[in-house]
């Protein structure tokens, strides 16, 4: 029943897409300044049907309708309601439907909110967006139908992978998808802009809100993914430069570059072609990332849904997309005159793009090189954290300095005074760095430089923030907040990277272990039954011998029944100043348990900083709306 309803709704959405494309082409030839009301109605229906189909899927998960293969494979009656709902986008098929929904919703919103603009630009955007929608709908219908039926109807489902049952991960795909898929709208708008010759300032203004939305959500999505990795994967880290993590980071670099460049296009009417390239690239890289993740080419801790046939379809679709974009670009792009001053905002924003592309290439090569090398040379190599630290970290230093100085370049009137204040801030940053150095412990030269430059950026941002509150003439509060967040992010990552106390040892129940200033007593172990799993809970007493501070920790080993899986739940005590992180795992054929202990300073501040970065985007968005 639900299956039929779902499929019907999807097919209706598909038919409406085709109609929208056809009607838009017809409307292009009608001399009228407004987009035909009928098209708007069609798009409204299309959006409604598409959202309804997704609701049907959620309902199927909530009532555990196992006549749907997708529900059978990814859900279970005993699962908590929250994870039943999030199971709807936990599988490949469901997440593809979510993907299509975002494509459709963005196309609808774009049409509604860009109402009084150039008609042919709007129509072409709609046409290309609907080609994208159609492409993914066909993929869904022929290869990944979330409404496929199973017969006979099973009485019980197989359950969702337990490590996916986590609040951060439940919201991670929607957030990330709004970012990834949201970029489709300026992919379409970019092509439309070239063809309809609706360029420059006007184009920049029309895509800016969408760039901000997708950027902010993508930032939050990546953050949610990291938080999940930290809490759920049980190794105490939050970023491993894993191929799948990289796949989410690569589009972020391009969107960030685009977000900055769009300002140049809006304010100075310059670098139009470059902005178009970035528009096209963002969505292309998003789809490429999805292809890599879904095809199972990458070896990653995050691959949950892969199948080579999906990869092939996405690859064909991707090639068509790139091919089309390139043809349009070279057919319609015009030569531009550039006008740059060395000390201008434009040049410094180009510097931002320059670093972004360096980071992008480093991450991209690191991710793809092992795959290519294996095909060409039959050697398997691993590219992991040491590579990225070596290649990327040194360049974070000048990047942070540029971030601090760049936004102010216009205001330089009194050169001497400006130089003096920068010099004082630098001195302050160096002094603070050495305070950390002597209070917390020693670290390498490169870490010193990174921490100095991040403090430099933080002081600059705080100073700007104070000026903002004093006289509200400074308009870019959103920039200040995002840059402040970024400075803090790097600072706290630097501190947590250098001052994590960790140990790895094996203990039996009743034993204790002393190291540095800590003592850990393994008090007891207990078996407990939960709704959909059994758990072994260890009780540990952690004593800080120096300050006599005590803490009881309860790490768990969980045994899930559907599907049968072992997971290791870390016991985490979060404080503003530090996190204590303890995991326990069984060693087979022995009474010993492997214990991993970590004390990580300022962990929670990493999340706060990342959220601060994203909130800058949201603030700018609100400001655009209220203007």
């Amino acid at each position: 029943m639900l299956s039929n309803t779902g499929i019907t709704l999807v097919i209706l959405t598909t038919l409406l897409s085709i109609t929208v494309i056809y009607k838009s082409f017809v409307d292009l030839h009608i001399k009228n300044n407004l987009v035909n009301q009928k098209i708007l109605n069609l798009v409204t229906f299309q959006t409604t049907f598409s959202i309804l189909s997704f609701i049907v899927l959620i309902v199927a998960f909530v009532i555990s309708d196992f006549s749907l293969v997708n529900v059978y494979e990814n859900s279970h009656t005993k699962k908590p309601l929250f994870y039943k709902i999030s199971g709807a986008w936990g599988s490949h098929e469901g997440s593809l439907l979510l993907w299509i929904n975002i494509l459709v919703i963005f196309s609808f919103l774009f049409l509604v909110f860009t109402k009084h603009n150039n008609k042919s630009y709007l129509l072409y955007t709609l046409i290309f967006q609907n080609f994208l929608i159609l492409g993914f709908l066909i993929f869904l219908l022929i290869n990944s139908n979330p409404f496929s039926k199973i017969y006979p109807i099973p009485i019980e489902g197989l359950g969702l992978n337990p490590i996916l049952q986590d609040p951060a991960l439940a919201i991670h795909p929607p957030l990330l998808y709004i970012g990834f898929v949201g970029s489709s709208i300026y992919f379409s708008a970019g092509i439309a802009s070239l063809i309809s010759n609706c360029r420059d300032k006007f184009f920049a203004k029309s895509i800016k809100p969408w760039v901000l939305i997708s950027w902010s959500f993508q930032t939050l999505g990546i953050t949610a993914g990291s938080i999940w990795a930290y809490y759920e994967l049980g190794w105490g880290g939050f970023w491993f430069w894993d191929p799948v993590e990289n796949a989410s980071l690569m589009p972020w670099f391009v969107i960030t570059a685009l977000m900055h460049s769009v300002i140049v296009l809006e304010k100075r009417n310059s670098i139009y072609s470059w902005v178009i390239i970035l528009c096209l690239l963002t969505f292309t890289i998003s789809v490429t990332g999805t292809f890599l993740v879904r095809s199972g080419i990458l070896n990653s801790v995050h691959t949950f849904a892969n199948d080579p046939s999906r990869g092939l379809y996405i690859l064909i679709f991707l090639s068509l997309m790139i091919f089309l974009a390139l043809i349009v670009f070279f057919r319609y792009s015009k030569k531009e005159e550039y006008n740059f001053l060395l000390k201008s905002k434009e040049t410094l924003i180009l510097a931002n793009n320059w670093f972004m592309f360096f980071f992008l290439t480093a991450v991209m090569i690191g991710t793809l090189y092992p795959i290519i090398l294996e095909v060409l040379n039959n050697t398997k190599i691993s590219v992991g954290p040491p590579f990225y630290s070596a290649v990327i970290f040194p360049f974070v230093i000048p990047f942070l300095i540029f971030m601090a100085l760049g936004p102010k370049i216009n205001w330089i009137k009194n050169k001497y005074k400006e130089f003096l204040s920068n010099f004082l801030i630098l001195i302050a940053a160096i002094i603070l760095n050495f305070l950390i150095y002597f209070l917390l412990g020693k670290y390498s030269i490169i870490s010193n430089l990174i921490i100095i430059s991040s403090i430099f950026l933080i002081i600059h941002s705080v100073k700007d923030l104070l000026t903002f509150f004093k006289n509200k003439t400074v308009s870019d509060i959103s920039r200040i907040i995002s840059h402040l967040g970024f400075g803090m992010l790097i600072l706290f990552i630097g501190i947590s990277h250098n001052f994590t106390t960790e140990n790895d040892f094996n203990l039996k129940v009743g034993e204790k272990k002393k190291f540095s200033v800590y003592q850990i007593n393994f008090n007891s172990i207990q078996m407990e039954n939960e709704k959909n799993y059994k758990k072994i809970v260890g009780e540990f007493r952690l004593i800080n011998l120096k300050s006599n501070f005590e803490e009881i920790l309860y790490p768990e080993i969980r045994i899930y029944e559907q599907p049968e899986t072992l997971t290791y739940e870390a016991s985490i005590k979060t404080k503003l100043s530090s996190d204590i992180y303890l995991t326990m795992s069984n060693i087979s054929r022995s009474d010993y348990y492997n214990i991993k202990f970590q004390k990580k300073p300022f962990m929670i501040w990493i999340w706060i900083s990342a959220i601060l970065i994203a909130s800058g985007g949201f603030i700018r968005l609100i400001k655009i709306k209220t203007r």
């Binding site: 190794w235 691959t303 550039y338 040049t347 090398l373 050697t379 190599i381 691993s382 954290p385 790895d504």
Partner: protein, 123 residues
């Protein structure tokens, strides 16, 4: 300024000795891939394979082997796949240098754009 740099040099290098054993262990664990897992390091993994490799590393450190020797030993047994830091060699040449090539390329483009402006101004 020079003095400060000297102090940094001095402190960083003199400090490394204390508490070295466990730090070295963990550093090596983190740089090794757990071959039976999906994208986890030996430090992160709870698998038996990881336990075994940890023991091997401990033994080798007790024998007085250096980090490099331990990596070489493991590579000879399991292949390059096991270490997360790719080696500098002919096969990995592009991996290590392509990012910098892009960096230089970008610098040239930006330089050219600014220079053009200067010429325009002169004209």
């Amino acid at each position: 300024m020079k003095k400060i740099i000297l102090i940094i040099f001095f402190l960083t290098f003199s400090h490394l000795k204390s508490d070295e054993v466990t730090k070295l262990h963990i550093e090596i664990y983190k740089n090794l891939r757990c071959l039976v897992c999906q994208g986890q390091s030996i430090a992160d993994s709870n698998s038996e394979f990881a336990q075994t490799v940890k023991l091997v590393v401990k033994d080798k450190i007790n024998e007085g082997k250096s980090k490099k020797e331990i990596y070489e030993f493991l590579i000879s047994k399991y292949g390059e796949w096991i270490v997360y830091q790719p080696r500098f060699n002919r096969g990995n040449f592009l991996l290590w240098f392509l990012p910098y090539l892009i960096l230089i390329f970008g610098a040239i483009i930006i330089y050219a754009l600014i220079k053009k402006r200067k010429n325009n101004k002169a004209n």
